[in-house]
Symmetry: C2
Subunit: 631 residues, 2 copies
């Protein structure tokens, strides 16, 4: 009996030694080294989107997810899709009404009138028949709600209009091409028939980019690219993939992951936005520190323009060939043609993904930490610093703890406030995402926490970091919810050099408060900021602005005015017009303040050169058909 | 006595302890952390270039440095500027003549006829007077040799022509503006007087970019930007500097170093080339792995165009504002206007700079090493892999060792060939430059050497690495030297995905040999390659091509034909038209092979939009005045 036991122990010991040796040899290979594999693989098409993953038309996101008020009068996120889903969030309204100094009643819900007053389609039967001949008829629609949805993005003005007002002009037809031949045929047809084409991806822009020019008399066709959604090939050895422009972020992520890769591009909208949209808006992802912004990711772009197809014979890691279609298309916001596909850079899925968080006593100390971190070679994939209001906001979104969790929460709070001496009305938080090889991540963590402690930071653990990062995707749903409860809210962003951050944030907050008071609006505004991206030369700063609008006339216009005032303050304080949201129509009035006339003139002529007829008449960035343009 | 000694020892001990503590606390600061400093510093103008740093007009580089033959018949680099300077290089000719299988006689020197047949200036006295009124008269010249120098770059065809042939068309006037007002006045004057303006920086391009269109009848004015050479400001906290476009690389390096910074941009031509030139050619530097290519470095560019000044109200670390002058100007090769200044990103000078080198048994193994290294986070600032011919070339450039050095050399060679079993006709070398924090460099070294040994690499020490890297700057002088000894030589480069490297290099080499043989040229060609840049998605490959041309008619044209054949082979094998040299006129014929007509048409229209009169008539990339352009 003892012999058998001994034998078993020996076998176990040998097994453990073998396992440890294998682990060690894997580590000795230095992390995720890619074994060269010849040729390209062709993934299958992405799965049809199941009914449970349908998107809402009248609000942000998935249909199964909404902030709402349960029968007990508690705020809760419906469904089970997100970490936040399903649990009552008792603190949100109480906390927020303290911020804006107006009582918020969960039962005071404004009735919405979504889908009222949708302008009828101006397309004649014959025109529809012609379009239906180009594509199959089931990919050509005049359905009211489809046309409405394709006529807006997610600015507060648009979201307000579709529920409580009306959009004066929306597309007359929506089409879904399935290949480049159809796109070419569409553009040829639009030229001869004098239609307007507006490319459509996820419809998640926040710049009025999809809003139809109200005086546009030509037939407006929304070209929804999401049937062109394949990964055409993956080149595993050379770390590239060719992806159709209508592929949506979450499907790209899933499909690439099947092959062990990622693009690493993860904007807030990634569940819904498309590759073509990212290129057109000049997007930035939350993990750009590791994976780059869209201009770093895109290796080649293929475009159907009114003057022919912009295509290259091959792709190179880097070239100096005088001209490059990527440069025209990045940030072009649908004005030059339809992007059909692009070649993107890939990264192997990271060996390790870890979260982290740090509390700082003040925003200033947090910014000092960010600055010192930006000077090192240990910057993690994502680093985001929220101000005190957003820190409190994050706490207010926590589901109600019970029993032991509640006790622990109190203990932690007491430790931080009494033990560390943090002031609950000044403290801020930094959330971190680390991705990479095991050693690489360890080194980044060491760098981050060492620098954090120099700036008075307190390491608050991975769970807060994960929560803070993941909150991004569910926060997007809040805006539509509070809109029903008489609060308008929006985000706007900018970029600036390091030494501008603190004065700029203060000035913008002060300006918003001043504008709010000057208009005699109820209560106080909510204005909060966070530093979401860092560069050696500066940062991206995101603002949230909100106010109570019951009793306010045309509140969406008042909000837009105040946002423009904030933007003027930003520009005066040395911030940019946009870090990544873009211009659209929402900010085009500011372009002459930041660019000389010769730039804007050249830009219009660039538009005229490729699209003299203004087929792509979305009219973003003030680009329309100029009198000089020759068809 | 003993007490004093003891006292001294105690003092020494205390001093050592203090020093160690200071060292430790510095390390605890985590490397070169930049202390924020408010405001911008304004450096003084760079020093006047002293007479001893004059450049040659008829050959590359500094006047004090040439390869030549000393009285003893040995090849030697004159002067004392470079590590290679001053010591006889006995192996070069014997080795090279074995490569090309033609006897090379150091005394057989072809007489040059530099400066013969310089076309006279076409500018009338009145036209000169007008220009002299715009700028001071001493900054306006019709001197023959100035005009000749400003009418070419450093392609072999141009360098051959100026010494053994003639350039049919050169600028009629050379001007040196000192500020933007003069540049604006020049352009206005050129518009009204119908002059051509060709911006000039270091004159080091290798694409015929400065070669004047031979049929150009208008007065051609070369606008030498090098009097606009100041660093206008350095923003130490935000790590940016604003630099005038005519500043030359070596002065930028020196001046920024005074403040503890570097741009990190170090192309082969950095001693002479200018910031404006780097932007216009879409340049890449040898240390781009750490510092980025020019598109990563440039934050803003300011341009005087025929349609006005392209200027921005401020600079941001990153923006999405729809249009960006950088995108038009990168790689524009002088066709759109004159860049007057740019804002660049800075890095603190690295804490540590170290060299390294590795020998590999074969090129294939070296490429395998490069691939695996590119997948890690430990890529050093510079990694370059030469093939066997360049490895031998590097060895042939070694000054003759004597005594102990000679013995050691034999021992090392015996060890490598007999001990390690490397074949002298297959082995290759990789030179490395590490820059960064101490720990960062240590980590990179560990990564590099670990991966190198997996691919059969033998660590060959920092001295060979330093030597190999520094050779770059002196190698440039060789081409003009061998041209006088009946050998034409040129470099050309490309970029490609990883899996194309080996077949492409073989095919190009085979094609060159075939073309050489088909033309019945003497001996054999020299054709060699190196991998000079790596990216996750591929590499840059540089070729050297040379052949003996005594007895060959129009050898410079024969060479150019063979180079075009090599380029066709490159394109067919999946390489790009250029990684960083650019297009100029030298490669413009290939543009329709790599870009669709719609791209080229849009590009021409972009040109017409900003310069309808073709004032910037250098005619690079095939961009001239099209019939549609409206003045």
């Amino acid at each position: 009996m003892e012999m058998r036991l001994l034998g078993l122990l020996v076998v176990l010991l040998v097994a453990v030694v073998i396992w440890l040796t294998v682990q060690r040899s894997q580590r000795r290979r230095g992390g995720p080294v890619q074994r060269p594999v010849n040729g390209r693989v062709v993934p299958p098409p992405p799965e049809e989107i199941p009914i449970e993953d349908s998107e809402s038309f009248d609000v942000w996101g998935f249909r199964d997810t909404q902030f709402s008020v349960n029968s007990g009068g508690e705020v809760v996120v419906e469904g089970d899709r997100y970490p936040l889903s399903g649990k009552p969030i008792p603190s949100l309204f109480p906390w927020f009404q303290k911020q804006i100094e107006v009582p918020l009643d969960v039962s005071d819900r404004r009735p919405a009138n979504y889908g009222a007053d949708i302008p009828p389609s101006r397309a004649a039967e014959s025109q529809l028949a012609e379009l239906g001949a180009l594509l199959a008829e089931d990919r050509c629609s005049v359905d009211e709600e489809e046309r409405l949805r394709h006529g807006h993005g997610h600015t507060q003005e648009e979201m307000y209009a579709i529920k409580f007002g009306a959009l004066p002009r929306v597309p007359d037809v929506v089409v879904w091409p399935i290949d480049e031949e159809e796109v070419i045929a569409l553009i040829d047809h639009a030229k001869t028939s004098d239609f307007v084409l507006i490319p459509y991806g996820g419809g998640t822009n926040v710049t009025d980019a999809l809003r139809c020019p109200p005086d546009e008399k030509r037939i407006i066709v929304s070209v929804d690219m999401r049937r062109m959604n394949r990964i055409l090939w993956i080149d595993e050895q050379n770390r590239m993939a060719c992806i159709q422009a209508g592929a949506i972020g979450r499907q790209i992520i899933d499909q690439l992951a099947d092959y062990g890769f990622t693009m690493g591009h993860e904007p807030d909208s990634v569940e819904f936005s498309t590759l073509g949209g990212w290129i057109s808006t000049h997007a930035s992802g939350m993990k750009k520190n590791r994976y780059g912004n869209i201009e770093d990711i895109i290796l080649d772009v293929r475009v159907v323009s009114p003057n022919g197809v912009l295509e290259r014979s091959g792709v190179a890691p880097r070239e100096a060939v005088g001209v490059d279609p990527r440069r025209w298309m990045l940030g072009s916001e649908g004005g030059f043609g339809i992007i059909t596909q692009a070649i993107v850079r890939l990264f192997p899925l990271p060996e390790v993904q870890e979260y982290g968080s740090v509390l700082f006593p003040t925003f200033e100390q947090g910014v000092g930490f960010m600055y010192d971190l930006a000077q090192t070679d240990g910057v993690p994939a994502s680093v985001r610093l929220v101000d005190n209001q957003q820190f409190q906001f994050g706490a207010a979104l926590k589901p109600a703890p019970s029993g032991w969790g509640r006790f622990l929460g109190k203990v932690q709070k007491a430790f931080v406030t009494k033990g560390l001496g943090f002031d609950v009305n000044k403290m801020v938080a930094c959330t971190l995402v680390f991705e990479g090889g095991r050693e690489e991540v360890r080194r980044q963590e060491e760098t981050v926490y060492r620098i954090a402690s120099k700036h008075g930071g307190y390491k608050a653990g991975p769970e807060n970091g994960r929560r803070g990062y993941q909150l991004t995707f569910s926060i997007a749903y809040i805006r539509d919810f509070v809109m029903n409860h008489w609060v308008l809210a929006e985000s706007f962003e900018t970029s600036m050099a390091w030494d501008r951050i603190l004065p700029l944030c203060e000035k913008v907050k002060a300006r918003v408060r001043k504008e709010h008071e000057a208009r005699g609006l109820p209560g106080k505004p909510f204005i909060s900021c966070r530093v979401t991206q860092l560069y050696p030369t500066g940062v991206c700063v995101y603002f949230y602005m909100a106010f109570y609008y019951k009793g306010v006339e045309r509140p969406e216009h008042v909000f837009a005015e105040m946002e423009r005032a904030a933007r003027s303050e930003i520009l005066a304080a040395g911030g940019s017009l946009s870090h990544h949201h873009g211009i659209g129509k929402h900010r085009q009035q500011f372009l002459p303040e930041i660019m000389s006339p010769a730039i804007l003139d050249w830009h219009q002529k660039t538009k005229d050169s490729i699209d003299p007829q203004n087929v792509f008449g979305g009219s973003n960035q003030g680009l329309g058909s100029s009198p000089d343009a020759k068809p």
